[in-house]
């Protein structure tokens, strides 16, 4: 599998680390209720089909959200994750 890095183009997946569903980008506020943190840390839609997940490209240090199909492994695109304020 190859993944498109917004910085470096299509690269072999050995250069990337997958963190899991892109839910990790939706971090709750520090004072959010425990349910919000449970939802963020543990609960997942876990879609069979189009999905967005979070990867790290080690050579250039870019975090990216990859649009991928979890059934066919087709990769349709990616965007760099913005640094949160």
């Amino acid at each position: 599998m190859y993944l498109p890095c917004p910085c470096c183009g299509w690269r072999d997946m050995r250069e990337f680390t997958c963190i899991g569903a892109a839910d990790y980008c939706d971090r709750p506020e520090a004072d959010a209720p425990p349910e919000a943190w449970d939802n963020y840390l543990h609960l997942r839609d876990n879609p069979a089909g189009p999905a967005r997940d979070l990867w790290y490209h080690a050579p250039c240090g870019t975090w990216l959200e990859v649009a991928r199909d979890t059934v066919t492994h087709a990769v349709t695109g990616s965007t760099a994750v913005e640094e949160a304020g």
Binding site: I19, G20, P34, E35, H42, R44, D45, N46, D53, T70
Partner: protein, 416 residues
Amino acid sequence: MQFSGFRILKEGLAGNRGWKPHWRKPDPKPDYDMLIIGGGGHGLATAYYLAKNHGLTNIAVLEKGYLGGGNIGRNTTIVRANYFLPGNSEFYSHSLKLWEGLEDELNYNVMHSQRGLINLFHSDGQRDAFARRGNAMLAQGDDAILLDREGVRAILPYLDFEQARFPIYGGLYHKRGGTARHDAVAWGYARGADQRGVDLIENCEVTGISVESGRVTGVSTTRGEIRARKVGIVTAGRTSQVAAMAGLRLPIESHILQAFVTEGLKPCIDHVISFGMGHFYISQSDKGGLVFGGDLDFYPSYAARGNLPGVEQVMEAGMALMPMIGRAKVLRSWGGIMDMTPDGSPIIDRTPIEGLYLDAGWCYGGFKAVPASGWCMAHLMATDQPHPVARRYRLDRFATGHLLDEEGKGSQHNLH
């Protein structure tokens, strides 16, 4: 139909024309007391123990494909009880005891072979961790022997003891660990459940779960509506999709785990062996093929096939441990869909919906758990109380912080 030596002799002399199908092919009735969604190992074992232990037989198992066609038919068949944490330790100990009586229980040859399992360690720190694990296993009443380097060499002389990168310091020897014939476990439970009156309904995909006033009332399927008072979801890698039909969002992410089999070889590996410095484990099947695997592919997937970097990693680990397998030709590889939880431990619990139960999150350790999972899920569905050995497998443990992270890896689905 019971199997016996006499029956096999008689059928052999009569041209084997007397064998009959092992289970009926009933059409679904409109109404059952209980439904089990998923006709794999765990679902069939649940149905069997509901009938056997609790006398409940107005039950159907709904399977979208054929019985035993999921992970029970595509795993590396290892059976062991070498867990450390309270919660896991007593559960897997119970499961191993059920395994030891399973062939008599089911009158079915599941080829359970207690050939011994050896987990290797490669540093002082790892030795300490394994010594502690072995003590926990002994305290649970199971068996464990801490082998030093020469002790390992005496029984596994073909490992690479010369290499400097991952020197073998010793191993934790679990003699009652071993393997079993995976398909036969599903078939044995299916036949036992069927004989007790459970309807096993194949090619019947659940398309909806009906909930009225917070209570489950039945399911929609490709073979019509079926009403029931209680419904159990036992669908492994597809658990998230089935639970979503009832509006539930679960702490599960589905990942691939690859496994490999070589061409048949003469007997050379007599035990189950795991490498402590790269995730690699291997045993030899009764047909002679070396059966081995390693880590997850680490990204969410339902493809049931993996990528080449995963293959490469497993092969490298195998070659680092036992170079003698380098000439064996790999016949086939495949991927299973693993329902990974954030702590690597399973869930056997009620759900927020009355009458809806969940048996899921087996990660890649579900095979050895089949008997105890069925036993405990049946207990839960019949009595509405968790079985004592499965009481920590709660659905809400992530929210409350009572995690069962056996390897201390952290709260991320693909780390376990």
